[in-house]
Structures are given as structure tokens and as C-alpha cells.
Symmetry: C2
């Protein structure tokens, strides 16, 4: 692995040394790509060959059966590979929870893998390419390695703490496809663009409708939509709070949303309801790309309360892309400004952990 120059030098978290982390990163990147190939096999089962032959023969299952089975297959594959190679590490997968009764936060200080075998399940069911494998490796509860692989797009977003974030990184075990260019994130970086002065005006705002569709005024769907509206409305609208964002995007995958904040494609991502396996890899990649991530819910004093580090299991996230310094503020100051401008326009969301 030959990484380019990077300002921050790697410091080995916990008991694991730099060489070990590089090896784990290499393993994880390869694992993500191999897991993605299993997802693609599920796509091929449904599409058949060029002329559509084979769909009926290979499979009597319906689309949902295929998706459910593929999801389970990929998690079993990833878990087996990890436990075979690193038997002392903990493993948390989406299916770890789905089959249990509770969704308690299980991440400890021990080395822990957090895996979503398939983020964007609805997209996968419908063959919309915005789905991916998400693999994170955490030490002391902090994701230090993150891998996102979107198999139809055939792109990898990845990071190892201290080594930067990359599109289509290559490692000894897992070279990127020859037609894919390796690029450091964010994609535009000499210089990294500043955040708009009148942000959120000029920003691309990413958000999801989610699964909570209760039609009640204080339900999450209403809180979300009212927030989206304030972010989108003309500046004079919504009692002068209109955000007039440049665009509103909903992809149906929290993990892909975070990847696109890391690339710089999206300026702001605001979300509630997803789980640590949806975001652990993305948080690592976003941070290594220079992004900021904190909580979705505004604090009591929006203007002055400190902007806290995101809590991995909080289910509430607000991410801002990397920002260049301007003549009047640092990139970090600009990011904090955009966090506060977003908080001014959004409602508190109500997502707790079952059992918490």
C-alpha cells in the first residue's frame, strides 16, 4: 500500500501497532470487495444473462427471498472470514441484532468489527445501485478503519486513521480495478473548497424519509419533513429561516450518504434513526476526509453550546463535508457555522434505543 503524503501522521490506537493496522486495513478492503461480489451474484440471479436467460432456471425464490438470503449469506461470510483471521476480536453485525430481542449498544473498548452486510436494502431489492457493504474496525469504541464498497458502481471508499480517506484504494491483497482511478478524499482538495458564506444556501442537503411514517404532528416523519422544508425554502420564507439549499438529495442509504459527504458531493447530511452498523465505516472515512460529524438534535443553546463529537450509537447524526480555510475563518470554524445554521432549521428527532 503506497499512500500519498498526508498531514496527520498515524498514531497506533490501543495496543495495535501501525503495521498491524495496515494489515487489518488491507484485509478489510479485500473483504469488502469480496462481500460485494456476493451481493452482485444476487443481482445476477435476478437479471440473468444478456438476453435475460437463466432467471427462471437458477431461482424459484422471489426478489425478497433472494435479498434476505443474500443479506444473511454476506454477513455469515464476513463474520467467518473475520473470526478465522482475528479470533480475539468482537463482531457486531446487523443480523446480530435482528435475531435478538434488544438493540442495546454493544460496542466495548475491545477491538470490534461493526458490519452492515447490505446497507440500502430497498435499493438492492429494486436494483437501484445505491447500496453497499459497510465494514468498520473499532478500537476503544472509535472506528479506526472504514470500508464502504458499492458493488454495482464498483467503487470503494475507505480509510485508516491517520492515512487519509480514499476512493478506490489499492492494497497488496486487493488492487482496485484497472479502470478505476485512485483518488484521495475529498475529491477537490487543492484547495478544498470553502463552505458557502450564506450556508445552508448553496449547499447540497442530503436526508432520508426513513421508516417511521406515522402521520402525527410530533412523529418523526413530520419533524423530518418540516425540517426539510425549512432547509429548502426561499431565504425569506419559513419566518425568515428558509435555508434555500442548492439541492435536496435522498438516496435511501445512510452509508452512501456519508460516503458522498466524504467525497464533497454533499455538503450536509442530517439523519436520525439509523444504527451504528450503518454509519461506523462512514464516520471513519468522513473524518479522515476532513469532515465533521456531530448530533442531529439541536442543543439548548444553538449559538454557543459546544459541538460535541458524535456518539456512535446515538442514532442521531449531522455531518458536514471538509471545508477549506477562507480569509475570515478556518475550515473547522466554517463547519461549526454550518452545523449551527442547520440546527436552527431542524426539529429534534425522537429516536431512542430499545431497552435504553
Amino acid at each position: 500500500m503506497s499512500h500519498g503524503s498526508n498531514d496527520t501522521k498515524a498514531e497506533a490506537p490501543g495496543a495495535l501497532g501501525e503495521a498491524q493496522l495496515l494489515e487489518i486495513y488491507d484485509f478489510a478492503l479485500d473483504l469488502g470487495r469480496r462481500a460485494g461480489k456476493i451481493l452482485l451474484d444476487g443481482v445476477d440471479q435476478r437479471c440473468g444473462d444478456e438476453e435475460g436467460r437463466g432467471q427462471n432456471e437458477v431461482d424459484k425464490m422471489n426478489a425478497v427471498d433472494i435479498v434476505t438470503q443474500t443479506d444473511l449469506d454476506v454477513e455469515a461470510f464476513v463474520k467467518n472470514e473475520i473470526t478465522a483471521r482475528y479470533p480475539s476480536h468482537n463482531f457486531i453485525g446487523e443480523e446480530t441484532y435482528s435475531t435478538g430481542n434488544s438493540k442495546e449498544y454493544l460496542v466495548t473498548d475491545s477491538p470490534t468489527w461493526i458490519v452492515d452486510p447490505l446497507d440500502g436494502t430497498v435499493n438492492y431489492t429494486h436494483l437501484f445501485p445505491m447500496f453497499c457493504v459497510s465494514i468498520a474496525f473499532c478500537i476503544s469504541g472509535v472506528p479506526v478503519i472504514g470500508i464502504i464498497y458499492a458493488p454495482i458502481l464498483d467503487v470503494t471508499y475507505s480509510a485508516l486513521t491517520g492515512h487519509g480517506a480514499w476512493l478506490n484504494d489499492s492494497t497488496p491483497s486487493s488492487p482496485a480495478p484497472s479502470h478505476k482511478r485512485r483518488q484521495q478524499l475529498p475529491l477537490v482538495r487543492n484547495p478544498i473548497p470553502v463552505l458557502p458564506e450564506a450556508a445552508p444556501k448553496g449547499c447540497v442537503f442530503s436526508c432520508e424519509w426513513g421508516k417511521d411514517r406515522r402521520d402525527v404532528k410530533d412523529g418523526n416523519m413530520w419533524r423530518k419533513v418540516e425540517s426539510f422544508l425549512t432547509m429548502a425554502a426561499e431565504s425569506s420564507g419559513r419566518d425568515g429561516k428558509g435555508g434555500m439549499v442548492h439541492g435536496v438529495r435522498s438516496l435511501g442509504s445512510a452509508t452512501m450518504d456519508l460516503a458522498y459527504v466524504a467525497t464533497g458531493a454533499f455538503d450536509i447530511w442530517w439523519e436520525g434513526g439509523c444504527w451504528e452498523w450503518d454509519v461506523a465505516a462512514g464516520i471513519c472515512i468522513l473524518r479522515e476526509a476532513g469532515g465533521l460529524i456531530t448530533t442531529a438534535n439541536p442543543p439548548s443553546d444553538i449559538d454557543t453550546d459546544p459541538i460535541e463529537e458524535v456518539r456512535l450509537g446515538s442514532r442521531l447524526y449531522l455531518a458536514i463535508r471538509a471545508a477549506g480555510d477562507s480569509a475570515t475563518e478556518t475550515g473547522r470554524q466554517a463547519q461549526e457555522r454550518v452545523v449551527r445554521e442547520t440546527w436552527k432549521r431542524v426539529y429534534n428527532l425522537d429516536y431512542s434505543r430499545p431497552g435504553a
Copy 2:
């Protein structure tokens, strides 16, 4: 060009014969890919090489300058290529209008090219991959050839009336990249999936927030958001009209939305405000993929009024993916059912043509 079997046999529209249309299709597919490469050059100008070198040197323009210039360059390139090869054909491009005073509907019965050199401009500015070149060739006002090329994704969606719709089609002049699989649309086709019985429940609904952000109760933003809400809410919500769609997607490109309805990734796309150059190619591709497209605005009797063919210049569109036959209804009946179920849940949008 070696197309697979197709039920509908091509009939030469107007005075142009089958051989001529195949030649024009070949030319258009190649033109789309070459135009897309110019868009990619604009991306490279902003990203530099792998280490980010070159961004400052090659370019003193800001992102918006690059985008505006690239947009103009691509339209000029496409127009020059078309007029050199087919001097008797008409040409309508987005820039044809932007520089004029009016947006009158200019498509006549003559052979006419309708081109959007860059659909998804905001996405292009932000380097979000959902942007594309859109090239349509119309006879008697009907798009008979459609080409959509998304250069970062490096995928082509294309169709020639009577020959089916294709992902990554290859022609003598323009072979698809070797790593890209050629597939007929919709992607799942043996059999083509039926539409859900309780649709819009179970459907992926695609919609865009658009540029009209006036914060007034009868403005288009409100009409859209109220419609989105009804499509998304639980079935018992919104006075029993809740659509409980499987997912809500907003990509920021009408052309890409239509392409994903053609592949089957999106079940329903409902939109107002875009123009004929945004949709002409997509309409051709969607129809060849078996999709239905009509108007966004509900008629006076939603249950019984005929479902009219879309008018290209109407700025109001509702598209439904291809649907398989079930035991109780044909695919076309199912599509019409979903059109009516959508109309029941949406507001009339207010988009007129300037000067109309």
C-alpha cells in the same frame, strides 16, 4: 449492432428508413459518449491527478465558471457534430433557450434533435455522479432515439424505437467498455415483475424538490411536499390516503430519474417543471423498456378519465416502470392502476410555459 430478439418489429417513422435510423442511433450513441468525455474533462480540471496536483495550475476559474463553460462547450460540440452530419435536421438545445427570451415549444414535425448537454448541473458542480448527457432524435414530435450517458458512472441508457431499450449498448462506432455488461431494460425481465397489489405501497417513488422554493401554501414547493407526504405516510394516515411507499428518492436529475424508471429501479416518477430536453431521451428509453408516461396532474375524474400520452413540452410528467402481467390484470392495466393511485395522492402542479 446486434440486438436481441424483440417482440415489436421496427417500423420506420416518417421518411427515414430502418437502415438510416440504425445509422443515426449508432451516431447518437457515440456522440453521447464523446460528449460525456468532455464533461469528465471538466471534472478532472477540478480534481487534478491522484495526488491532487494540477488543480491550481490548469485552472484559475471557480467551479461555477468551469461548469458554465463546460455546459456551453458540450452543447456546441454536440450541435456542431449533428449539423455537420445531418445539416437538414433541426436542433434544440438547452442553450438554444437560455440565451433567448422565451421558452416557446419549438419542436415541429421535422426531424429534430433535442439535447441537454448536462442534466443535473448542481450534481455536476458538486461532483455527485448523478449527471448526464441527454440526446434525443424526434420525428413528428416523437422521440424515436434516446441516449443518456452518465460519464462518472460510465453507463449508457439508450433506445431506438422498435429495438428495445439497453444498458451499455454497443454499436460499430461506439463499443461499450469491456468491463460493462450489455443488458436489455428493464433489468429484471424473465418475467418482468408485477406492480404491487397495494401500490403505491411497496413502490420506490422518485421525486425532486425543484427550483421553485416560494414558501406559499399554493406554491409548487408546498404542492410537491404535500404530495410527497401523502405518498410516504402510513396507509391509515392522510385521511386514509397514505401511500406508504417503500422509499422516496431524490437524485437531482430528471433524466437520471427517468433512466432508473426504465431500468425498473424506480416504480414511480412524478415531476413538474422540467423541460423537453430533460425528458425527451428518457421518454424514448422508458417506452422501449415497456414503461408508461403521462401527465403529473390529475384529470377531473381520476377513476375514469383516459390516461393520455404524455405531451413532450408539457412540463408535467408521471412515469411508471414496465410491469408484468398477473393472473388478474395485464401489465398495462397495472400501470394504469398505479397512475390513478398516484393521481389520488398528488396535487396539481402549476408550471406553464413562458409565452404560452
